[in-house]
């Protein structure tokens, strides 16, 4: 994260270097904020995105800037690690599933895509 700032009592602004945390990572992290926040995402340049998290009206919980900034920062790191694991293990996961389930030749093949 490049910068985090308090816009107002209920709006928090984060500037993110997307060459460090790609859009996939940011999206997955933000997904869990959709219950209590409205999300505004502005792509400033090829490598910089600005995210504003605004607390939804009628939300009973109170959020401090420090807590949200700290949590969002940690979430980005966690989702980046998850992304690295998914990327590195994609092929072995496919091999594992094929080995586990592809030996049942007697299943009738229902065409799921065309119906």
């Amino acid at each position: 994260m490049i910068n985090a700032e308090l816009k107002s009592n209920n709006a928090f602004c984060f500037t993110i270097n997307t060459s460090i945390f790609n859009e996939n990572v940011i999206t997955k992290a933000l997904y869990w904020y959709t219950e209590f926040f409205n999300i505004y995402w502005n792509k400033k340049s090829e490598s910089v995105s600005v995210i504003i998290l605004k607390v939804k009206p009628n939300t009973n919980k109170t959020y401090t800037f420090e807590d949200v900034a700290s949590k969002f920062n940690q979430d980005l790191i966690d989702y980046k690690n998850r992304d690295l694991i998914i990327h590195e293990t994609k092929d072995i996961r496919n091999i594992l599933y094929v080995k586990a389930f592809a030996n049942n030749d007697d299943f009738e093949d229902f065409n799921l895509a065309s119906e």
Binding site: Y31, T34, E35, I77, R82, T89, I92, R93, L96, A100
Partner: protein, 474 residues
């Protein structure tokens, strides 16, 4: 010295000041905070204990394809063994009529005199024919309602017909009668004895809770009398009970468990209300869920202490989760399956002849929502179980790929529930951040992991016995 190694698929979560890692096979390991970062950045040293633990537990590998890949594949297949037999639980809603007035009724029951809510014989027999087309060698024929013992003639014909047809099909059939035990007559019990029918009854705890929940003054005494009669007739092990946690119940976890113990049960299923039927409109779900989690933790600890004192008493929902967390096997519990248990494991033949994807699917149909209606008992088996609607539902019913679940450390233990998503969020796919299903399971699984890690010596001997259902070790 930094070593090269290869990652294997795993997911993670922070619990109790540690990092919990869970791999594709459902095996888990706790490591100190910061270890995940070191693992994914390939900074582990071969000489570290954690390196050896991760290798031996299938989290990392020293070769691109692990030597034991076939072993891993077999274990993954074992975890999904419930798919082998396809639909095994066949629920027959013989009637919507009921003789109780439960405040949380999820089945939209009708007054006990309204016979137009009974299934007709032609539809019943067609439903039985469909059941026998299931590839599963072992099937459960479960009778529900309303109160399914009210139309006794239908219950009797259903069991007799199934037994007759089974002369040809040779399946292993388990019959279950879900009854409130209010009116278990000699005739009903005689049928249960003859066909080895299990009784699954409901008991919400002490009289003041049970009667309150049922809107009747004498319900508790009549249920206990019915349970006692059924036990004498069929044997204690042929009668099980299920409790539903109403808002009142949540203040009395110990009283409810003590009541189960005093009534001779050695298990309980702490079942929350579900957002269907009357319960949907009468409850503030966010508050309810928070209170339920507190209730569950309190009740579970009380039960653990009962076991420590030498009484074998199981909390069944916990036992289901523990089997998934601590053993290589799966369970038949429909709610916690991926691909989703609806259609794959359960189907419902409703009183009006329509076929639904699950018990909850037919409940929302009573509110004119037919999203999960697969067709009619007069339709062909293939069009019901493999038709367009079934495919639409199942294609979005996998924790392995839906948003929020795909990255979740508890993926292997949890399940996908498109019906609940639809019912509570008006979207079969669902949004996990606001899903009560997700919140409940995350809270409970996290708590079980917390107990396993932080109170290992206290809980593990008991949890192991619950998994093995080994009463003799007490």
């Amino acid at each position: 010295m930094i070593n090269s190694y290869y990652l294997l698929p795993f997911r993670f979560e922070k619990i109790g000041g540690q990092e919990l890692l869970v791999n594709e096979l459902g095996d888990y390991i706790f490591v100190p905070i910061g270890t995940i970062n070191r693992i994914v950045n390939h900074q582990l040293n071969k000489k570290e204990d954690v390196y050896k633990d991760l290798i031996s537990n299938f989290f990392i590998s020293e070769s691109p394809i692990p030597e034991l890949i076939d072993n891993m594949a077999t274990r993954l297949r074992t975890k999904k063994a419930f798919l082998d037999s396809f639909t095994s639980l066949h629920i027959f809603v013989l009637t919507l009529r009921c003789n109780q007035n439960c405040i949380y009724c999820q089945a939209s029951s009708k007054d006990s005199s309204e016979a137009l809510y009974d299934m007709n014989e032609e539809h019943l027999f067609k439903a039985i024919n469909l059941m026998f087309q299931s590839p599963s060698e072992s099937i459960t024929m479960e009778f529900q309602g309303g109160e399914p013992s009210l139309p006794f003639h239908l219950l009797q014909k259903a069991v007799e017909r199934a037994a007759e047809l089974n002369e040809k099909y040779k399946k292993q059939i388990t019959y279950v009668l879900c009854t409130n035990s209010i009116n278990l007559t000699e005739k009903i019990l005689c049928l249960c004895k003859k066909y080895n029918i299990l009784i699954s009854t409901s008991l919400d705890g002490p009289a003041f809770i049970h009667n309150h929940n049922r809107g009747k003054n004498d319900s508790y005494n009549r249920s206990i009398e019915g349970i006692s009669k059924a036990r004498n007739y069929l044997g204690t092990d042929r009668v099980s009970a299920l409790m539903t946690t109403s808002e009142l119940s949540m203040n009395y976890p110990k009283d409810i468990i003590d009541n189960y113990l005093s009534n001779g049960f050695n298990n309980i299923f702490l079942r929350p209300l579900n957002p269907y039927g009357l319960a949907l409109n009468n409850t503030d779900w966010n508050k309810y869920l928070d209170k339920f989690i507190t209730f569950y933790k309190s009740a579970l600890n009380y039960i653990i202490d009962i076991n420590i004192r030498g009484n074998f008493f199981v909390e069944e929902f916990t036992a289901i989760l523990l089997r998934k967390m601590l053993t290589p096997f799966t369970t038949g519990f429909v709610d916690l399956q991926s691909p989703t248990g609806i259609i794959n494991s359960v189907v419902v033949y409703n009183y009006d002849g329509y076929v639904y994807a699950s018990d909850e699917s037919r409940m929302i149909a009573e509110y004119h929502d037919y999203t999960f209606r697969l067709g009619h008992v007069t339709d062909k088996y293939e069009s019901l179980f493999y038709g367009k609607k079934a495919q639409q539902i199942i294609l979005i019913g996998g924790t392995e790929f839906i948003a929020g679940c795909a990255d979740c450390a508890f993926q292997s233990y949890c399940g996908a529930d498109p019906v609940r998503n639809h019912s509570t969020q008006n979207d079969m796919y669902g949004l996990r951040p606001t899903s009560s299903f997700c919140k409940k399971h995350k809270a409970i699984i996290s708590y079980l992991f917390y107990l396993i890690h932080n109170e290992h010596d206290r809980v593990m001997p008991i949890f192991k016995q619950w998994i093995n259902k080994n009463e003799n070790e007490f």
